[in-house]
């Protein structure tokens, strides 16, 4: 899938991160399901145990809708991030969330809504579209700059300064609260660290894309 996250203030963030990571270590986490399969799209976050004050962010991201799907299925943001929802189709979408950390609705709109949506509370936000039942995406709001997402290999690599961290893993199909996956990991200076984390996944029943659209196989209905 094509990633179209736009870093409007990219330089600013990179600048802030390099200031902290004078000597960055790497923490490599392998996430598996309890059936022993490697899990992709799992978000791994690390929060320093000694409660270092973390800088607030004014990051801005975009989650596009193209061909009646959200282009990014899972997007991790730091609390305080604003996300816009540009609609690249020539029909309207109606983006909503009923999740506790952020309940909002952008009723039937074309183009990019004027006001981006700000995500201030940590937790998982499940996004849908009221008129296209199969459209689904997640915004996972965290309060640390140290996070990464696993790829097909099930491995997420975090760059962070040496120290002790609480490592939390989340996945859209995670069974139970993310807090329960917490693992305390000490990242020693100069060596880096690896960790294996096993999570329980649940079945999630989702509406299927309507057959009319899938039959035309990508052409002619946008």
């Amino acid at each position: 899938m094509r990633r179209t996250v736009h870093f409007f203030t990219l330089t600013l963030i990179v600048g802030a991160m390099t200031a902290v990571n004078v000597s960055a270590e790497s923490l490599s986490v392998t996430v598996s399901s309890n059936e022993g399969k490697k899990v992709s799209e799992a978000v791994v976050t690390a929060t320093p145990v000694n409660g270092v004050e973390l800088a607030k962010t004014n990051q801005q991201l975009a989650i596009d809708q193209i061909d009646k799907v959200f282009v990014d299925h899972v997007t991790v943001v730091q609390a305080g991030t604003s996300v816009s929802f540009p609609n690249r189709d020539n029909i309207r979408h109606h983006v909503y969330s009923f999740s506790k950390p952020k309940t909002f609705e952008i009723p039937l709109y074309l183009g990019t809504p004027r006001e981006p949506t700000s995500f201030d509370t940590t937790g998982a936000v499940s996004l849908g579209c009221n008129i296209h039942d199969w459209m689904s995406a997640y915004v996972y709001v965290v309060d640390t700059p140290y996070y990464s997402m696993t790829g097909k290999s099930g491995i997420a690599t975090l760059e962070l300064p040496a120290g002790e961290y609480d490592v939390v893993t989340w996945h859209p199909r995670l069974r139970g609260p993310a807090k329960k996956t917490t693992k305390r990991i000490n990242v020693a200076s100069g060596k880096g660290e690896t960790a294996d984390i096993t999570i329980k996944l649940k079945k999630v029943w989702k509406p299927r894309r309507s057959p009319v659209a899938s039959r035309s196989g990508g052409g002619g209905y946008r």
């Binding site: 649940k202 029943w205 899938s214």
Partner: protein, 623 residues
């Protein structure tokens, strides 16, 4: 003379009694099928209703207020739309958020049917029969998707007398519904007279009376009832049973009348004999002998025999009763022959209400042929006993699926099944139903293979050919022994298609005539253009891959790629075609019979280029 009369009386009496009882049992069986269908249809209707409610966006908004009074009032409003009797909303953590039956609940209590939610988490929805506040409900559980489940909506419909009465009107048998759990038996509804209801509960409680899925006769209120029990819902905790009944006395009324008449006539005849009135002896002896002969014929099973007594006296009446009885016996025999082939009640009804005469009519139908892949080699590897068991398991499941959709099984030929849709009940969608049934059969067989594999037994694969067209169908044979069957070119083509699957390594092939009728409902791939031996015109054949909207687990680029490859092949562009077929093959990890077949053809054609009049039509080898 006296002996002769007694023998007539006994023969007629026994035959009549059996016939009457059989008829009652047969009616009860039909009632049972009708009942099960109604229950199925109702469940489906309830599930659809529940789904519509759960996708109401305004309702999702109401849920996120997390205010139970608002939610209850929204649920009352929604429930009214589909006539639900109770609704509850349960959180993903199994907490009862709101319940129209318990408005005081505010979201702390655990939902008591947590296992139902667990089931719905696994399957996407759940249905059960539960008891709440002393009443019994059918409960459907569906997710509120936003777009993942944010809560579970439980929609309940009360099971009560109204349902029982409705069922009785439709099945014409008495129906009693009970819910049974460890705390005892609760009667949900009963159409029996009130004074008999308690008695029936007693009989069910008494475990020594074996009411089961074979009908038995039980006494109720001094009458005999033929009784048939069926369990239509069961979980670990409770079950709901339906008891279907017909009064034997009512059913036997005509028989008792006849018996009384017989007794009277016999008595009179005896008296007359005793007096030895010579004058009457001729007019009595001869008809009585005729009747004795008739009784013997029936004993031999010859139901077509009729006695000829033209007197207008009591013996004449007796003779005509006798003829009526044999008529009803032969009718029953006829029913049995037909029911053996067509189990679907609707089809049986159609056949029974028509005069059964020899002769066929032309009808547009869909014809189905199936056989077992590599049956000969399977039969060589198994003992005859194992082979019969395997085959019976297979044929039973497959024929049930055919009956379920009003299909008619024409015959079994060893491992092969010949069936058709569209007759005797005419229906426009026979092609669609035939193809859908075939898909269901393939799916069912896959499930069976999984079980066989686990048991370490042989796994069976099935090949199916379906054609649609006008063929002759009707009762064919002799007057004594006729079959409801079909014949015509269209039948032969279906058989050929079934065999042709071998060449393409496919399992479900249809002709262009069937394709024309079903192309919107199924995912189809064009396989080839073929010519049947002895025919001039070429026919396009297709593979049915699934139902439209099915997830086949195949790369979605595969089908367009295959069809493009086929187009290139037919236009003679073999290089382009080869590239496309190889690409199509790669989408299926190198396993696709038709693509491989075409690649072989291309290699051959490159070796021996085709003549100018090449029409890319291939001869269909004999199956």
């Amino acid at each position: 003379m006296g002996l002769a009369l007694v023998s007539v009386f006994l023969a007629v009496n026994a035959a009549n009694l059996t016939s009457a009882k059989d008829q009652i049992r047969e009616k009860l069986k039909v009632s049972h099928r009708v009942f099960m269908r109604l229950i199925d249809a109702r469940s489906q209707q309830l599930a659809e209703g529940a789904y519509v409610l759960s996708s109401d966006f305004a309702f999702k908004r109401a849920i996120t207020t997390y205010d139970s009074q608002t939610i209850i009032s929204a649920m009352d409003n929604l429930g009214g739309r589909i006539g639900a009797d109770a609704m509850a909303l349960v959180s993903v953590d199994y907490e009862l958020l709101a319940d129209t039956l318990k408005p005081e609940v505010t979201g702390e209590d655990e939902f008591i049917f947590a296992d139902l939610i667990e089931h719905a988490e696994e399957e996407g929805s759940a249905s059960s029969i539960v008891q709440m506040e002393g009443r019994v409900y059918q409960m459907m559980v569906v997710p509120i998707l936003a777009p993942e489940p944010i809560a579970w909506l439980c929609v309940s419909f009360v099971l009560d007398q109204r349902l029982g009465d409705e069922m009785k009107t439709l099945t014409t048998s008495d129906i009693s519904l009970f819910r049974i759990d460890e705390s005892g038996i609760v009667q949900i509804a009963s159409t029996l007279p009130v004074e008999l209801q308690a008695e029936l509960v007693g009989v069910i409680r008494d475990k020594t009376v074996p009411i089961g899925d074979r009908s038995i006769t039980i006494p109720l209120g001094g009458m005999e009832y033929v009784t048939y029990k069926t369990t239509f819902f069961e979980d670990g905790v409770s079950k709901v049973i339906a008891v279907l009944q017909r009064s034997l006395q009512e059913g036997l009324l005509p028989y008792y009348r006849l018996r009384a008449l017989l007794l009277a006539i016999s008595a009179i005849a005896m008296i007359i004999t005793a007096i030895g009135a010579v004058a009457t002896s001729r007019s009595v002896t001869k008809p009585v002998v005729t009747l004795v002969e008739g009784a013997r014929e029936i004993e031999k099973g010859n139901y077509t025999h009729r006695v000829l007594v033209e007197q207008k006296d009591e013996l004449g009446v007796l003779a005509s009763s006798f003829n009526h009885m044999t008529e009803s016996l032969s009718e029953k025999e006829k029913i049995r022959n037909l029911l053996g082939k067509v189990m679907s009640p609707a089809v049986a009804h159609e056949l029974l209400n028509k005069e059964v005469t020899l002769g066929g009519e032309e009808k547009n139908m869909s014809i189905f042929f199936s056989d077992v892949k590599g049956f000969t080699s399977i039969s060589e590897q198994l003992s005859p006993q194992d082979l019969v068991t395997l085959l019976n398991e297979y044929l039973t499941e497959m024929s049930d699926l055919i009956y379920d959709t009003d299909g008619v099984i024409d015959k079994f030929i060893g491992d092969a099944i010949v069936a058709f849709w569209g007759a005797p009940l005419p229906r426009d969608d026979h092609a669609e139903i035939a193809v859908r049934s075939a898909l269901r059969m393939q799916r069912k067989l896959a499930e069976m293979r999984a079980v066989w594999k686990e048991q370490g037994r042989h796994e069976i694969y099935m090949r199916v050919g379906i054609n649609t067209g006008v063929v002759v169908v009707g009762n064919m044979g002799s007057k004594e022994r006729m079959d409801y069957t079909m014949m015509g070119d269209g039948v032969n083509l279906a058989a050929r298609l079934e065999g042709a699957n071998k060449n393409y390594s496919t399992e479900l092939m249809i002709s262009e005539f069937t394709h024309e009728k079903v192309k919107d409902q199924f995912i189809l791939r064009e396989l080839d253009c073929v010519r049947v031996q002895g025919k001039k015109e070429a026919i396009r054949v297709f593979e049915v891959m699934g139902e439209t909207g099915d997830d086949l687990g195949i790369d979605e680029r595969f089908l367009p790629c295959f069809h493009a490859a086929l187009g290139a092949f037919r236009s003679g562009d073999f290089d382009e075609s080869k590239t496309l077929f190889q690409k199509a093959l790669s989408f299926r990890d190198g396993v696709d019979g038709p693509s491989t077949l075409y690649l072989n053809r291309i290699a051959e054609l490159k070796e021996n280029p085709p003549s100018a009049d090449w029409d890319c039509v291939y001869d269909l080898a004999k199956g």
